[in-house]
Amino acid sequence: MKKLINNPTNVVDEMIEGYIKAHPNHVKQLAENKRSIVTAKETKDGKVGVLIGGGSGHEPAFMGYVGEGMADAVAVGNIFASPPPDPILEATRVIDKGAGVLYIYGNYAGDVMNFGMAAELADLEHGIQVGTVLVTDDVASAPKEEKEKRRGIAGEFFVTKVAGAASEKGYSLEELVSVANKANDYTRSMGVGLTPCSLPQTGQPSFELGENEMEIGLGHHGEPGVEKGELKTADEVAERLVADILVDMPIAEGEDVAVLVNGLGSTTRMELYIMFRKVEKMLSEKGITIHRSYVGDYSTSLEMGGCSVSIMKLDDELKELVDQTADCPMYVQK
């Protein structure tokens, strides 16, 4: 393992320090908690705050999504570990403009406990109403009947995009929870892993894969997938991912979707576009229109090799929200 770091213990705090210094017009760090980052722009009174968060190591998720049209704050955890309640609570206090705060995070045991405790404390100690939306987009992580058990992966980008746009448009907390839940219900993702990542603190690979192997359906912390096998071509992999997504969430001819082909860290844009090429071909052959496409690193797993494909089915409301502009340090949409 080779990494450009100093002391492995300090990677998260030093990353945040650099991030804040690099983007002072977009974000600021709270004095109360160095793991709480909020938008530098003054948000409107009555706007529902959107708070995201999770472990580090997924950059640009989650801190790269704080800005206009996306999240108002992020709580940053240790590598691949949920943030504790403190930074969540401090950020909640700052972004509450009297209309409550929406928490969006992936469905992981640690996140559920920490964000859950923060939500209770926000209500108890500060009288702030908190709504919660758990992202459960990974089709490979549990059967369809148990969607509520699924983990959240790159599709969280879509849920955050929709919620961020809706909160700017003045949705109430209740409406925001509902539309963000819809975005989650309409989003499916599935990934493929080619090479593992290594945690800065241990230097050890998070899982093992042979030189000619790939793992279909793996999670973005290296959780095992549904199938380990010989490395296939990009077309074959894309076919598998899209086919599994469409079995899980049928999309009719004539419907519109947003597509995200997300790199896991060390996969080149060249490969991601080759993957997208096939995804687009499959969808257009079925008469499905890609209304918006996103290709690049949106939710990584340190330097893991591989990618995920996310598809969000769009109705009129979601289409309008996806189209809204956004301006974050690591994501801009005009």
Binding site: A81, S82, Y108, G110, M113, N114, S141, T202
Partner: protein, 215 residues
């Protein structure tokens, strides 16, 4: 048995050392089941507690306050899933020993019962799920059977033995909670890292009270 706030601080200091010694071992266990950082996570938490032990808690005489600071410190440093679990354990335990500078064997027994029940309530895991509960539940049952007439240190040895059997049982179990639950059959054969660190926490307590009695 005599157990003072000072002994509690010694115990916590001992856990700091034990977690540091077992850091790589716990990571190794976790690599087979999770993302391989359980030892790092425990170390981050206990090192943060270590700082408090050397500073704010150095002369603290209220066992309750020591536990509250320990729980909150661990949670703030760690997050993750073990953060809320152990924080809940220490906070529930704190209620039992609050405003006490010295506690009895009976208090210690009630402390650990509250500690374990708190963790179970927060995490909602069951025996057989391949988690720390597989270590803690048999310890809890053994604790409840402790008679006030028997020697506490000897009694606690039985608690630790039950915990050990529970920890070792995780080797043959299928993961059902957390990230490793997706492993299915592949999780069998590996001891759970969370069950292992939970055992270390209990075992270190036994070591501490044993050393305490011999002086």
């Amino acid at each position: 048995m005599k157990f003072t706030a000072k002994d509690l601080l010694t115990y916590l200091k001992n856990v700091v050392e034990v977690m540091e010694e077992n850091k790589d071992y716990l990571c190794e266990l976790d690599r087979k089941l999770g993302d391989g950082d359980h030892g790092v996570t425990m170390s981050i938490g206990w090192q943060a507690i270590n700082e408090k032990l050397q500073d704010e808690l150095k002369d603290e005489e209220d066992c309750g306050r020591i536990c509250i600071t320990t729980g909150r410190t661990f949670l703030s440093a760690v997050g993750s899933s073990v953060g809320p679990l152990y924080a809940t354990g220490f906070l529930r335990g704190a209620k039992v020993v609050q405003n006490k500078t010295e506690v009895t064997g009976e208090d210690v027994k009630e402390f650990w019962i509250a500690f374990i029940e708190g963790i179970k309530e927060r995490g909602q895991a069951e025996v057989g799920d391949k988690t720390m509960v597989d270590t803690l539940q048999p310890a809890l049952e053994s604790l409840k059977e402790l008679q006030s007439t028997e020697d506490f240190v000897e009694g606690f040895a039985k608690v630790v033995a039950a915990a050990k059997t529970g920890m070792e049982s995780t080797k043959d179990l299928l993961s059902k909670r957390g990230r490793s639950s997706r492993l299915g059959e592949r999780s069998i054969g590996n001891q759970d890292p969370g069950a292992t660190s939970a055992y270390l926490i209990l075992e270190t307590f036994h070591q501490t009270i044993t050393a305490n009695q011999t002086v």
